[in-house]
Assembly symmetry: C2
Homo-oligomer: 148 residues x 2
């Protein structure tokens, strides 16, 4: 019982969160290498599969990423042929990102990825649900703080 206990690694909640997130993306790598995508590129494609078309700002809001991360990432996805960029007609400051046919086809090939990854995580359906709820509770609270 020391006043320093709060600074012990084993008493942190943030550390397993940090370590777990890294472990997950690390274990995604071999699955995604097959498609020549990084994890961040993969979740960006998830946004594009759902939206078909979105501004950099909108993608950033979905993924909690800013233009500093997204601009080079989107350029890479464009050079791979999965998306296209063009200036917005409505607002010349904005860039609209649109999914290509190749990008849509990629979706069919990648449907097997989540199942393959799910096998790694080893939580029951119920535990996964609990974790999901707790993580979004934290995320939503941060959103509220940041909105101020």
């Amino acid at each position: 019982m020391s006043k320093y206990d709060c600074l012990k690694l084993e008493n942190q909640l943030c550390f397993p969160l940090y370590a777990c997130a890294k472990a997950v993306t690390r274990h995604y790598k071999p699955l995604l290498d097959e498609f020549d995508l990084t994890y961040t590129q993969y979740i960006t494609m998830m946004v594009m599969w759902e939206k078909k078309s979105a501004s950099v700002k909108e993608i950033g809001e979905c993924l909690y990423l800013d233009s500093g991360t997204l601009t080079p990432l989107i350029n890479k996805l464009e050079s791979k042929g999965y998306i296209e960029k063009h200036r917005s007609d409505d607002d010349a400051r904005g860039v609209v990102v649109t999914i290509t046919e190749a990008g849509k086809k990629l979706r069919d090939k990648m449907v097997k990825v989540p199942t393959a990854m799910g096998g790694c995580v080893a939580l029951s359906e119920e535990e996964a649900g609990e974790l999901y709820t707790l993580l979004y509770k934290i995320l939503n609270h941060f959103d509220e703080i940041d909105a101020e």
Copy 2:
């Protein structure tokens, strides 16, 4: 109900994990800026506060980091005066990192950080415990997989 549902961002467990870990380290930043430490430097100091002395390899095992990340990070902590590096007597391949007096003093100043951060996370004691358990369940399972 589409076969693509598994590729929706909202159905991912890994994404909130990834986003949450980033949000947490982002919210640590203003607290750690005061001490001129990054989050990774902070958790490295946690290991040093507990162990007083450890090899780069041991630190890496605690934090799930490799020498590619730790070598430059440890050099920075050394230049700040919080730790010292020297070759191991037992094994000249190894480097032993030791905490300095300044490093020990830093601990006293930083005891308030975990409380300040805890206020941000907004989970009950019980929820925090659940999350902790679930995260280590995933981490431990990855450790088992990786040990093979």
